[in-house]
Symmetry: C2
Subunit: 435 residues, 2 copies
């Protein structure tokens, strides 16, 4: 198999005069090498005045900080590279942009709150929870206003769900673009939510017979608004106030957000302040000009809410190359489906010619990411790594080319195509496509 003949490489696409992106890719590659990582972490830590710590090699001879030093703890200075990253050229301004989850550095299925990807449209609202109110009005028997404390009196539930932006992997529609799983697939996180069923507050207000849709609105400067069909709202939507045990983070909608299991992240309204019940969808900006899928014939597919079955190998990947040479090697990744549980993940090391079933490890929960592993004995020859997920309803993840054949390349949303990483003999890994 010749690399040259079968590849459409992200690396080959770096030669155009897009300096912003080239700089970004270069930084991504530098951050990818294990040796470079150590140096970067040391540099960051030294900049933060941590050089004394890093110079201590044998901690059996030092007394460290006591229990009063860190009332709220943070990661080791040696982990300073495990952060959300944004892409400067992607949007006009950071207040309406996205930062990406460092998937290549994580394991298991829980995304730590500190590195959950962010997407906001008017910056992070920093709301005082005691001043915040949620109003429910429109086609209801009794319009109601709730405080956070009011909501905490309803029966609570705890659910682990993935939240994926509809635009995740969106830049890959036109070919391998970004050299890092953080950037190709990092618009996803997976946390345990604590909250209440949306149904409880809707029933308290009393939905009139012609109430068929909700308009949900956020309390930030963008006043993000989406229409949600009443069936979904009554079925499994939640109003969440905690993530991974503690209060929602400001960038995730503190003090309360909507949870719309399995559906695109844009609908999970943050800083939730208003729910209006109506008899038809509202066709707001974020569900017409945005978050619809432009098809090859120029028409737009709408109401494509559910996230498709999808997977990606998180390590090895361009930011997490193989540094240990041949032999025992762990291939690890994530799989998820907006329909339910993942039933199977296959992994190929030869660009999709042959497949082996990966081992799914850890809790298998509906509409949560699943962690998979394939343990191989690498012979040191180049690998074309791919993963392919199947869910409990036998939905199967397609190739990118199969997707393009149906949907064209106009859209930036709902790309669940199979991802390929090329691992060279020296372990350096890059984003490619096989044809």
């Amino acid at each position: 198999m010749s690399k040259k003949s079968m590849l459409r490489s992200a690396k080959g696409r770096n030669d155009h005069p897009d300096n912003g992106r080239r700089a970004f890719l270069k930084n991504g590659l530098v951050a990818g090498g294990a040796a470079a990582l150590g140096a970067a972490a040391a540099g960051a830590a030294q900049a933060a005045g941590e050089n004394v710590i890093l110079q201590k090699q044998d901690w059996r001879t030092y007394l460290g900080d006591g229990v009063d030093a860190r009332p709220y703890g943070t990661p080791s200075a040696h982990e300073a590279h495990v952060i959300r990253r944004n892409v400067e050229w992607l949007t006009a301004d950071p207040v309406s942009s996205v930062s990406f989850t460092p998937l290549h550095e994580l394991d298991g299925i829980i995304t730590p709150n500190g590195v959950c990807f962010e997407r906001h449209h008017g910056g992070i609202a920093e709301i005082d929870p005691t001043a915040h109110r949620l109003m429910i009005h429109g086609l209801v028997d009794t319009p109601l206003v709730f405080t956070l404390e009011d909501l905490k009196r309803f029966p609570r539930e705890n659910k682990v769900y993935f939240l994926e932006c509809a635009a995740n992997s969106g830049m890959e529609w036109r070919g391998a673009q970004l050299n890092g799983v953080q950037f190709t697939h990092g618009m996803i996180h997976n946390v345990m939510y604590t909250g209440i069923k949306l149904r409880h507050v809707l029933e308290e207000a009393g939905i009139k017979p012609n109430g068929k849709w909700l308009l949900v609105e956020g309390g930030d400067a963008s006043a993000m608004t989406r229409s949600i069909p009443i069936e979904k709202a009554l079925n499994d939507c939640m109003i969440a106030f905690k993530m991974n045990g503690e209060a929602l983070r400001p960038e995730q909608g503190y003090p309360m957000r909507l949870v719309v299991p399995g559906w695109e992240g844009n609908m999970w309204i943050k800083w939730l302040r208003r729910i209006e019940v109506g008899d038809q969808p509202w066709h707001q900006r974020e569900e017409t000009s945005k978050y619809t899928d432009l098809m090859p014939d120029g028409r737009a597919r709408r109401f494509s809410w559910q996230m498709d079955v999808k997977s990606v190998i998180t390590s090895p990947s361009p930011q997490a190359p193989v540094t240990h040479g041949k032999g025992r090697t762990v291939i690890s990744g994530l799989a998820w489906s907006g329909a339910g549980k993942i039933s199977r993940v296959d992994v190929s090391v030869d660009g999709g010619r042959n497949w082996r079933s990966a081992r799914i490890d850890g809790p298998s929960l509906s509409r949560s990411v699943h962690r998979f592993y394939l343990d191989i004995d690498w012979n040191g020859e180049p690998l074309y790594l791919q993963s392919r997920a199947m869910d409990e309803y036998r939905n199967v993840q397609p190739t990118k080319d199969a997707l393009r054949a149906v949907r064209g390349v106009n859209s930036i949303y709902h790309n669940n195509g199979i991802q390929t990483w090329y691992v060279a003999k020296d372990g350096v890994t890059e984003n490619v496509e096989v044809s």
Copy 2:
């Protein structure tokens, strides 16, 4: 039911001249009131220069921080009160002490990494992962030394386990002492670990036929050492390098710790640097003068490794009083067992005379905490709240008096007695005992 006749109250015990503890209890109570909480959070936030944020009430008119502002995120300034706390009078020095998980502020089953309780004996070692080594020697065919990267090449697994200090609730042996679930039960946390089976590295070294015990040693200044029977080591112990998806925190043993599912936390050696295989236990300090249970006859019970079935109501509790008056009220708590899964939790509102089954919500995983709820319509009369857990092997949580009848009050370890909170008409809640 007269409060006076049936109670042995923690409040009543505050009148002795232990100023250190009195100050602590007072602080605990002040932090407990919801109004006070808001004021405390605002105070802390203002001290941190966040007063501008707190003065903004309507975030629809402000652009907030962009996605480049917080590469690693932290909680809202309004959550500044959700922190680990330590008790100054408890130990001679903070480098050999404990900080407690704020259980009263958390929900679900995942403890966020930032507030997982700490217990260390020589301060927090801040080890450089690239310099760290794990040695395996003693009764093995081939002594081995592993780097962190070496360990990451073995097959990985992900498990959610509670880690409870054997001394959790230890101060309650002699009666209701501490006015807050953070302090009575906060030496526990529950995270998802990623790591490898300890068995893999032991098999790689090859255990000789007479190898029956392990000595495991930490790389900190206390060189914490414990003996572990080989059956447990080969059965389900892990070497973990991640918690809740990201690297272990320094205070939890970064870059690697032992995981000993269901057994007392002291055995979960942090900063793991050495494993020696031997033919008998070592009888180190931390398994003779400490972490044995002094019985009424003056003899010490040893090898009491497994944590017993236990539960506690986290809200309402002294630091989380009822502030909304009578009516719809959520009673919430945690239950766990070192033997396996929790099968049932009962809750009493009348000091153990009558019991109702609570609702267990969220994943039910072996040797993980379980979250339970009981939704009541509070009539505004005083409550004597208790919870009683049962595990899948029909172990049942005992009363404190039943425990004392067998074990006396000399020990500070393995107290899994039923906890009682007294909720007054005004919602103020305190630690009491019913007799």
